[in-house]
């Protein structure tokens, strides 16, 4: 038990050191713009379908499940407000981040892990390229920059899914639905959600890269790196979400 606690704190220390190294390397030239763009494409574009599908289903299900209760209370006209606020504030960012942690963190963990095991990272270092800057900084930055965009995209698709239910079941036009949603939303909903999405992206990127980059030797290490990257990233997402909500409450009185 004591050993486990000790290992936990050692890991926290290692991740903190890894993150500090990221910030140091990220601000010092040379910058790997080409690789950053490639990673943005990999992280952003290749996650679109996944985020869209999940967002659409979440919007649909949330509306269908909530509808009977709101009808019971005679508050069905509040549906767009309720769904809009819950998706933009919480459900959209958290679900998108969780989906992305499954795809991105495990991808980073497996890719960097296999590069470590097959000595590709050593080969990069011997060739005079800083592998941390080329592999880690670009990936973490790509995840940090792309996640807010994916969250916004996911939110819109989720709202579209919700509006479809309202259109068919409640005879609410798309125009009325979206007007009501945007009337209900304020900057206090949008800004904290967008800012915390950046942190979600950073957590996903840094965890995936940390697990992959520091993986033990051997192919078994690659599997473990991918797996633990997802578990650790998902757990950290909730911790960051809690802190984000707590801080937002100070500024916006949610």
């Amino acid at each position: 038990m004591i050993d486990k606690i000790k290992r936990f704190f050692i890991e926290i220390g290692d991740v903190s050191y890894f993150s500090a190294r990221f910030f140091k390397q990220a601000i010092n030239p040379p910058f790997e713009f080409k690789e950053l763009l490639r990673q943005c494409y990999q992280v952003g574009n290749r996650s679109l379908l996944l985020v869209a599908t999940t967002g659409f289903i979440i919007g649909l299900v949330l509306t269908l499940q909530t509808r009977p209760t709101l009808i019971e209370f005679g508050a069905v006209s509040w549906m767009p407000n309720m769904v809009g606020i819950s998706i933009v504030r919480e459900v959209g960012p958290v679900i998108t981040a969780l989906i992305c942690s499954g795809k991105i963190a495990s991808g980073f963990g497996a890719e960097l892990g296999s590069m470590r095991v097959t000595e590709q990272i050593d080969a990069m270092e011997v060739s005079g390229t800083n592998p941390f800057k080329y592999l880690v900084v670009t990936r973490v930055l790509a995840a940090t920059l792309m996640l807010p965009l994916l969250v916004i995209f996911g939110d819109l698709i989720a709202l579209y899914g919700s509006s479809l239910v309202e259109y068919f079941k409640g005879d609410v036009s798309f125009r009325l639905y979206f007007n009501t949603v945007f009337d209900a939303l304020s900057f206090g909903d949008l800004i904290p959600a967008t800012i915390k999405s950046f942190f979600f992206g950073f957590v996903i990127g840094i965890t995936g890269c940390y697990k992959g980059y520091t993986t033990g030797r051997g192919t078994a290490g690659v599997g473990i790196a991918a797996n633990t990257a997802v578990v650790m990233a998902s757990l950290l997402l909730f911790v960051v979400d809690f802190i984000a909500v707590f801080v937002s409450d100070i500024f916006y009185e949610l």
Binding site: M115, T118, E119, Q120, D122, A123, S127, G128, T129
Partner: protein, 260 residues
């Protein structure tokens, strides 16, 4: 076998006494496991030196200490006249441009084409190619040296094990290094491909006049390519000499390496 003996008939100049690698009292441990316990070695200019040792004897650790991939616990490591342990990152990277490294598993970048793999080391060493706008002729030359001029646009996954090793060799020589380090160059290859790799190593040395340090446990490879050999046993330089000298040794630890 006969053919390999012919290959071993070297015409290279090994009389030059300029030292390109000097290791003194190199020590490295991993926890309680003391891998290197005071290893000494010298490699002279233009020479092919083979270091043989059992698996886990510290051969790869030693070679990684030479390029700064690992830091020794203690000891002096000098490569091309520079003390590795005192170099800052910029100086180390500059020195690395004069060292080619062939990794055991080839270590080609999976996500890049063969051409991109070869161009990759050139991006950080532009100084070496001042005045050269197009890198394509250099890539072509390196690939033609290893007989794979047609593979430029292929991905590593599309290559066989032997082809990967040859591309890795082309990548190791793309910066025209003065010294090439080979970590198990023939491991995992069939005897015919191994022979081809050895021939390539020799032809590259002849063409560019490089010095080579070869880490291996392949006796045939050592016999054909070595001008001098070192046996790494229990973390120290246990025996040193030419292949012919070592094979005649009556020491049981030395004999163990050459038993068929």
């Amino acid at each position: 076998m006969k053919e390999q003996e012919n290959i071993g008939n070297t015409e290279l100049d090994t009389t030059n006494e300029e030292v390109v690698i000097k290791i003194q009292d190199l020590r490295k441990s991993f926890g309680d496991n003391q891998v290197l316990r005071g290893f000494d070695m010298e490699l002279r200019k233009g020479e092919n030196l083979v270091v043989m040792g059992k698996s886990g004897s510290g051969k790869s650790v030693m070679i990684k200490c030479l390029v700064g991939l690992m830091s020794p616990d203690s000891g002096y490591v000098e490569v091309l006249g520079k003390d590795i342990n005192t170099l800052d990152q910029v100086a180390l990277d500059e020195l690395r441009s004069d060292i080619g490294f062939l990794f055991q598993g080839s270590a080609l970048y999976d996500s890049m084409t063969v051409r991109e793999n070869l161009e990759f080391p050139m991006r950080r060493h532009r100084k070496k190619f001042e005045g050269i706008q197009d890198t394509l002729p250099l890539v072509k030359e390196a690939l033609e040296n290893v007989g794979l001029g047609h593979t430029m646009d292929l991905m590593p996954a599309e290559l066989s094990g032997g082809m990967k090793r040859r591309v890795a060799l082309a990548r190791a020589i793309i910066l025209k290094p003065k010294l090439i380090l080979y970590d198990e160059p023939t491991s995992g290859l069939d005897p015919i491909t191994s022979k081809e790799i050895i021939e390539l190593m020799r032809s590259i040395q002849k063409k560019y006049g490089t010095s080579a340090l070869i880490i291996t446990h392949d006796v045939d490879c050592a016999r054909v390519i070595s001008e001098r050999m070192i046996l790494l046993v229990d973390g120290v330089n246990y025996a040193e000499g030419t292949y012919a000298e070592l094979i005649q040794s009556e020491d049981p630890k030395v004999n163990a390496f050459f038993k068929k």
